[in-house]
Every structure is written in structure tokens, then in C-alpha cells.
């Protein structure tokens, strides 16, 4: 039953990848900015979990809650310090690439100074040492917890975007920023909040990267940004809910190739990305069906 395990693993990893990409897409959707430091925030989330666990014995699930306030704060400061400048420039998308590339480099360098170059992880089996059985397949507890948190984050984001006033204003900006300003929305305020949420989601994803991709290291940020970017392009740029689908497609592609043609496993998710770009350039949940 190799395929059944690949299916289950693909979905669980898919939810993790969706979590890892969600913040990037939310920020892009609202601000048309590509946060190239996204992967570095994931990395910092990983280090936060390792340090809090090693020094204070704090369970990573508690860390999920603990990273939220500082992430919101960092998001606010980063938006007002950098984001507003990017938004005022002639070509925000390009400007954001340059600006956040710089931020990414600085964060990585500071992380090396602060944490050293070594791979860090949580070594004890905090989520159980015995696999759990799903449909007769033994699945590590950490996968279930990671996927569960990913799913919870997706649902909470959905509730926020579709059932609160702030969320509606956020979607209004995604739909038409000028029109949103014209009904009295203050885009800076919404953007700062969104940036905070995006950073928070990345930091939370970082906590689980310890269990899904084997640890965290200061240099992993760039690779994670690329993966997250692939997920959101598959799902549809600017469509947070498309990210869910993008993550699942990415996870399934990875796990099925690992099972049936391991040597292609690094390539397959990106091949799917190319095919989707050719067949449906807006991504799976691109603009035309975004409001579903």
C-alpha cells in the first residue's frame, strides 16, 4: 500500500506547505509585495521553538501562541518602516524584491551571529515516539500535529477574511485598492495588520519545519522562500485559499515521486508548477474564481 501512504503523507505535508506559503501569499495579495525574507521568518520561527524548548522546556504548541504577538509587532514595524516606502515607489513589486532581498540577507547574517551556522532542532519526541495509525498506515505524530496546525491556521484565516469587518476590508484591498480607499479604508492600517499576520503564519510554519524538514539553519531561508513561492504560484497568486490547494498539490507531487521515482522528487513539484503555468497561468485558484 505504498500509494496509500504517499497519499496520506502528501496531504499532511501539503497542509504544512500551505502553512509555510500562506503568509507570503496574503502579503502579496494585499500589498503586491513579494516578501523575499519570508523563508527567513520561517527560519526564525524554528529557532524560537528550539530555544524555548531547550532553555525553558516550552512545548512547541505553546510556542505557536507565543510567536504571535512578537510577529504582529515585527510585521507592523516592518510595514511602516519598509512596506510604505515600497508601496509609494513606481514599481512596488520590483522594489519589494530588492528591499526584501536585502532584509533576507541581513536576517540571515544576524541569525549566523546569534545562533551559529549549525542545524538546530528539537531532539526529543515531543509529539510521541510511536507512529499513529491512519487507515492502517503508521504516521509520525509530529506530522499530524503540523498538518493540524496548518489546517487550523487556514480555517482561522478563512474566518478572519470572510467573516470579520477587517477581513472584508482586507479582501476589498486585494480586489481593488483604490476603490477600497475610496470607501474610507485606510490601506496602511490594513496592510500593517496583514503584514503582521503574514509574518506570524511564517513563524508558526517555522516551528513545524523542525519536524517536517528536519531542523532549521540560518541559510535555509532562501530555499524556503522558493518553495513557498512555488506553492502560491500553483495555487494562484494573491489567493490565500488557493494556497491550500497549492500546498496539497505540492505535497502530493513530492510524496508520490519520492515513492515511485525518488530521483525526480526535487523536480516534480516544479514540473507541475510549469505545467500549471502553461495550462492555467493564473494558478489553480486564480482571479476568475477567487471569490469562491
Amino acid at each position: 500500500m505504498l500509494w496509500l501512504f504517499a497519499l496520506i503523507a502528501g496531504i499532511l505535508f501539503g497542509l504544512y506547505y500551505a502553512l509555510a506559503a500562506l503568509g507570503l501569499n496574503l502579503i502579496f495579495g494585499v500589498m503586491r509585495m513579494v516578501n523575499l525574507a519570508h523563508g527567513d521568518v520561517i527560519m526564525l520561527g524554528g529557532f524560537a521553538a528550539v530555544l524555548l524548548f531547550d532553555r525553558l522546556g516550552i512545548n512547541p504548541l505553546i510556542t505557536v501562541l507565543l510567536v504571535i504577538p512578537p510577529s504582529l509587532l515585527v510585521g507592523f514595524v516592518a510595514y511602516y518602516l519598509l512596506g510604505t516606502r515600497v508601496q509609494r515607489s513606481r514599481d512596488p513589486e520590483m522594489m519589494s524584491l530588492v528591499m526584501f532581498f536585502g532584509v533576507s540577507q541581513v536576517v540571515e547574517a544576524l541569525a549566523v551571529i546569534g545562533f551559529g551556522n549549525n542545524e538546530a532542532s528539537i531532539t526529543s519526541a515531543v509529539f510521541g515516539s510511536k507512529p499513529f495509525s491512519i487507515a492502517g498506515q503508521g504516521v509520525p505524530g509530529a506530522w499530524l500535529v503540523s498538518a493540524g496546525v496548518g489546517l487550523a491556521a487556514l480555517i482561522l484565516l478563512f474566518v478572519y477574511l470572510y467573516h470579520t469587518g477587517l477581513g472584508r476590508a482586507t479582501r476589498a484591498i486585494m480586489s481593488n485598492a483604490d476603490e477600497a480607499r475610496a470607501v474610507g479604508v485606510n490601506p496602511d492600517r490594513i496592510s500593517a495588520i496583514t503584514f503582521g499576520i503574514g509574518v506570524g503564519l511564517a513563524a508558526i510554519a517555522g516551528i513545524f519545519s523542525l519536524f517536517m524538514i528536519g531542523g532549521t539553519t540560518p541559510s535555509e531561508g532562501v530555499g524556503l522562500t522558493v518553495t513557498a513561492f512555488a506553492v502560491i504560484v500553483i495555487g494562484g497568486l494573491g489567493s490565500p485559499m488557493g494556497t491550500f490547494l497549492g500546498g496539497i498539490v505540492f505535497g502530493l507531487a513530492l510524496m508520490f515521486t519520492q515513492t515511485y521515482a525518488p530521483v525526480w522528487s526535487g523536480f516534480a513539484p516544479f514540473a507541475i508548477l510549469l505545467v500549471i503555468m502553461l495550462v492555467r497561468p493564473t494558478g489553480l485558484m486564480g482571479r476568475s474564481v477567487r471569490s469562491v
Binding site: R171, M174, N176, E179, V183, S291
Partner: protein
């Protein structure tokens, strides 16, 4: 503007543009409270730029904007909206939101309870909107979009309603129904209305008309005075055979 009427909006010497391109030059405009004014002009005359500058979506380079005696050219858009100016852009709606959510966004700066009441009122006034209320806005036809756009702008109970080419992309039948709907809404107690248009049918709503060409004011007066001007009559009425 009738002399006894309170002035809603007074624009003097307004200039605006994008980068090195100056689009609007030294523009003067006046609207009385409850007055309806139509600004006519061809494509690229600076009509949308005028409205975007009024709303603060584009900074004024020169000149002043007074709203009920208060200078507002330095205010943020959100402040102007809270002061009672509602604006419908050419797009007019948020396509990715539902019709209901569009109406809720129209009342973004109002207390929630009042917004709900106001939406119910408007749904009675605009049966077309009530019918499509639960659905997504991107599924609406062009005419329905304009209706929803107008209703959305009216949710905020504005004192001044500003519409950017409500006829754009509409078939003549729909233009008529938009004009009728607006006429119905304005009535006696409605807000002041500023419409920029190319379509003559909106003159039915107008108490006074401005003509803008090349970013400058070419004419100011009543509809009758406009028709009395030979060259303008040829330019605007002649082509449409009205």
C-alpha cells in the same frame, strides 16, 4: 448655482497630474447642497483625474477644495469619506466580494447597525440589487454592476455623491435605467450629485453643466445655455443626433 442654496463643494484653481504629466489645469467648480451637476468631456479630458483629486486619491498640485466651507485638499481619503463624500469609480465595485459585502464596504466608515438598516432601505429602492444580493459581484452584468456601485456609494448616506462615468460600458437601455434610478434616489432630500460623463442622457439629471476639455474648463452654465452654444452643441449633441 441658485443664490439662496448653501455651497456644498467649491473647487478653485485645481491642478493635478501623474508624474511629469499635468492633466488638470486651474479648474474651478461649484456645487450647491442638493444640486446636481454634470461635467461633460471627451475621453482623456481629465474627468477622472478631477474626481480622483477631489477624493484625495491623487494629490492636488495647486488650488483649493472647500467642502461646506472646510478646506479638505489636505485631508486623507478616509477623512473625506467620513465627512460625507461618496465616490463610485469607473469599476465601481469589488468584483471579488459578494454584492452584500460590497454594500457593507460602502458603509465602512459608519456604525454597523446603521449600515444594516441603510442596506435594507436601498434594497427596496433598487430591486435589481436586492435580487442579486447574495451572489458574488463578479457574476453581475455591466448594468447590475453600476446599480450595485451606486447603491454601495449611497450606503454611506453621503452629502455629496460623486460618480465617474456611470454609463461606461453600458447598453443604452441600461443607461436609461441607471439615470432613472439616480433620479429616483436624488429626489428632494437627496445628496448633491457630481457626475462626470460623455453620455448626454445624464443631462436629464443636471441642474448645471460644466464642459472640460484638455484638462481645462471650457464651459459653465445650464443645459439650455449649453444647447445655445453652437460649437458645443455640434460637438456634444450633434454627434449623438439628440
Amino acid at each position: 448655482m441658485p443664490e439662496q442654496m448653501e455651497t456644498c463643494l467649491r473647487v478653485e484653481g485645481l491642478g493635478a497630474g501623474y508624474g511629469s504629466l499635468q492633466v488638470l489645469w486651474d479648474f474651478d467648480l461649484e456645487i450647491g447642497a442638493q444640486e446636481s451637476v454634470v461635467v461633460l468631456g471627451p475621453n482623456g479630458a481629465g474627468k477622472s483625474t478631477l474626481l480622483r483629486t477631489l477624493m484625495g486619491l491623487l494629490p492636488a498640485r495647486t488650488g483649493s477644495i472647500s467642502y461646506f466651507g472646510r478646506r479638505i485638499e489636505g485631508m486623507r481619503t478616509s477623512q473625506r469619506v467620513r465627512a460625507g463624500i461618496a465616490y463610485m469609480s469607473e469599476v465601481g465595485i469589488f468584483p471579488e466580494l459578494s454584492v452584500e459585502e460590497n454594500l457593507l464596504m460602502g458603509g465602512y466608515s459608519l456604525p454597523r447597525g446603521r449600515v444594516r438598516r441603510r442596506i435594507e432601505e436601498l434594497c427596496e429602492l433598487f430591486p435589481e440589487v436586492a435580487r442579486t444580493r447574495r451572489g458574488p459581484a463578479w457574476k453581475l452584468s455591466g448594468g447590475q454592476r453600476k446599480m450595485v456601485g451606486v447603491a454601495k456609494a449611497l450606503v454611506a448616506e453621503p452629502k455629496l455623491l460623486v460618480l465617474d462615468e456611470p454609463s461606461a460600458g453600458l447598453s443604452p437601455v441600461y443607461v436609461n435605467s441607471v439615470v432613472e434610478a439616480l433620479a429616483r434616489t436624488m429626489g428632494q432630500t437627496g445628496p448633491a450629485l457630481l457626475v462626470v460623463e460623455q453620455n448626454m442622457k445624464f443631462l436629464a439629471l443636471a441642474q448645471r453643466v460644466y464642459v472640460i476639455e484638455g484638462g481645462r474648463r471650457r464651459f459653465r452654465g445650464t443645459v439650455d445655455e449649453l444647447q445655445a452654444d453652437d460649437s458645443l452643441r455640434r460637438a456634444y449633441f450633434g454627434l449623438q443626433g439628440a
